[in-house]
């Protein structure tokens, strides 16, 4: 393994290691002649700067960790792309870690990132209480919570999920639905609980005219959505809700599939609204209505807050940024219902 170091370059260019380092970091302070000589040596040797050693010396890395709940959910991929786009401008690398909803995996990733001495971490935590995350913060790694409001220990970027649920609920009520189901997941996931709460408030605003059902799955996946859909399709028409509001688009897609395989028409027999407005929502069997979150913007803003904190740790005040969701109405909920 011909991995060259700064010393060999110095030797070949007949300068000191300090000079080579200067050429690498502050080329303007070294004379054009030597600079040229050093560049040549670098090229001839195929020297590649060892970022690890550099990092050890300067103490701060140019890497941030992004720990998401589910990489196979395009929502998080989009958040990641937003983060990466902005990070790239500050030539910083984003490493994407997948907790897959498992606190154990989450913890292992956090440990690894801390050992790596990343400059900061963006995370959508699995659970509301995460003691080791707080310890990590206490030890000095800046953290920004993504898609979840902060507790005061750190910055956060989130979207008002309660409002999102409410908008969706109001829309369904307004379209004449009187029997609405929330297709959700474990209420320990803050986002799920909030969306549910929002829907409830919209239902409550209808003064008892609307009935609210709730289905709960362990994870927010296509498969779980489909499973719940199967159960709903099996209900007698009178018992069946006329609309379903799903905790995310993955579930909505699964739910929709189940409707199709059981010959139920969407939105005629049952309207569906998803959440996140991932790109696949518009491409679904029946184009999905969905509550849109500013996905890339979430990622960008998170990086922004982090960089701000890293730049001036002293006078930094933690902030909580909250965005507003909006409803994209498509065919899956387009119809007015009149019974």
């Amino acid at each position: 393994m011909a991995t060259r170091n700064i010393k060999e370059v110095a030797q070949l260019a007949r300068v000191s290691v300090g000079t080579v380092s200067n050429v690498l970091n502050r080329p303007e302070i070294v004379s054009p002649a030597t600079r040229e000589r050093v560049f040549e040596a670098i090229k001839k040797l195929g020297f590649v700067r060892n970022e690890v050693a550099r990092h050890l010396r300067v103490g701060r890395s140019r890497t941030v960790g992004l720990v998401v709940l589910d990489v196979s959910n395009p929502f998080f991929v989009d958040v990641a792309q937003g983060a990466e786009a902005l990070a790239e401008d500050h030539d910083t690398m984003v490493v994407l870690c997948n907790s897959a909803g498992d606190p154990g995996r989450e913890r292992r990733h956090l440990d690894q990132l801390e050992q790596q001495r990343v400059m900061g971490i963006l995370i959508t935590p699995v659970e509301t209480e995460t003691p080791w995350l707080e310890e990590l913060i206490a030890r000095g790694t800046p953290v920004v919570l993504v898609d979840r409001p902060a507790t005061g220990l750190q910055c956060s970027v989130a979207v008002d999920d309660r409002l999102g649920g409410q908008i969706a609920g109001a829309h369904l009520v307004e379209r004449g639905h009187r029997r609405i189901m929330f297709v959700g997941g474990p209420p320990s996931i803050k986002q799920v609980a909030d969306r549910h709460a929002g829907l409830s408030s919209a239902v409550a605003a209808a003064d008892g005219a609307v009935e609210l059902l709730t289905a709960t799955a362990p994870t927010l996946t296509v498969a779980e959505g489909r499973a719940i859909g199967e159960r709903v399709a099996a209900l007698p028409p009178g018992k069946r809700p006329t609309a379903a509001f799903c905790a995310n688009d993955m579930m909505a897609l699964g739910f929709l599939q189940a409707m199709a395989t059981h010959g139920l028409r969407v939105p005629e027999d049952l309207a569906i609204i998803g959440y996140d407005d991932i790109d696949f929502a518009a491409a679904a069997a029946v184009p999905l209505s969905s509550v849109r979150q500013p996905r890339e913007l979430l990622g960008r803003t998170a990086i922004d807050l982090l960089l701000e904190e890293v730049a001036e740790p002293e006078q930094h005040r933690h902030r909580q940024v909250i965005f507003q969701p909006d409803l994209v109405v498509r065919e899956s909920s387009a119809m007015r219902r009149d019974d």
Copy 2:
């Protein structure tokens, strides 16, 4: 920032730094009493091992880079998940990088990974010829090509794309289609060229009875698929192909959407086959037939080959693993066509 080091731990535990290091790496060789004392000190100080310094000394990192063509394509996400799953067993971290089909981004990521001294790189290169990748290999970073056969400089895992195209083509011919369109991308992408070639060979096998059309987009995205779909839908029925084979599922999904918005029925008016069999394919407006690749297996195998090379660099012989694709027939191509 209270970031503790091994020396402080040693001091508190009243042992030497060497002993602390031993406790961390080979606990069995230090006496239970001291070991306990050191653990206590570690806990009390909240010491977290600095992986950067460790790596500098040991010279080998536990991180591998995975550079993919498009993170928003679930196919690559699944490959990544496969890779990560196996990597985790060897407690190795996978960092996911997105070249987004841009050679410039690809290069920047490779540079960064090399500077980071990762233990190896898995990559689906943007272009067939990538000189700087070869230089990188020459300098000593092990590389495994993913979803593309190797050139001999490195290992590779791939799927026989030509066969995939052929299977899809044979299926369409057998179903009675006589006018088939390949909805593809730039032939500079090897995968695309091979799938096209496979389709061609299946068409050729029909002895001139079948006509082959080709549409080419700059990228393999949903949007491009939709755009091509729009153009096809606008053709007069006689000129229109009766089947489309798309270079990947993303394009197929877009294409399908265009059919729907123009009132063309799938598969009655036009059959569609996609490629990759991503999870969303089954959830599409009309469930998509698709050529399935063993996605997670690709990732796992790539990591496997890499670890093998890293473990015994001397006697390692580069290998090319090739998997067979298979066709999953769903509704979008289910119908027999008889004109």
